[in-house]
Symmetry: C2
């Protein structure tokens, strides 16, 4: 079952993400990161790879793209905030963008 991250879960799972450039969204239990790529093909290529994982895990990002920039926000709507699924997708996205 998906559930809100506990205090311990937050320390364990979110701390490494914050070090990797993720930030809390102001006024929302969600994390965000802005990726910059070399061009649109690289940016959309990243989105395509991430989309396949998102669909596979049935956990989808909110994301905004303009040219070579992709701004991602992750939160778990079913539980009204951050769950381990967000941490998992965030790690995967960092890997795919890397």
């Amino acid at each position: 079952m998906t559930e809100l991250l506990s205090d311990t879960g937050r320390e364990t799972m979110l701390a490494p993400l914050f070090e990797a450039g993720w930030k809390m969204v102001e006024g929302r239990d969600a994390i965000t990161k802005t990726y910059e790529f070399a061009n649109f093909v690289e940016a959309f290529g990243f989105m395509t790879r991430a989309a396949l994982w998102a669909e596979k895990w049935d956990h989808h990002p909110e994301w905004f793209n303009v040219y070579k920039t992709v701004e991602v926000t992750l939160s778990t709507h079913d539980v009204g905030g951050l769950s381990s699924l967000d941490a998992k997708l965030a790690r995967k996205m960092d890997q795919l963008a890397g």
Copy 2:
């Protein structure tokens, strides 16, 4: 050369887009439309098709996706407003989403 739409160009090219659900963006010379699909696969499938045309025409959208919704904004940064490229991409997107 890409240039700002003239008054005549606006009447000719934008009127049919407004009828198709496009709207002017408040405070910006740009048009926007929100597409709703059946699910994420359909929404991202649309984005992928549109991305290929955008890259081919070297004219890229600003777009936001969350699950089955895709919010598109079109404007031509090089000319600081709407050009015929925006109308062309808008028509293509409507066709791809249809």
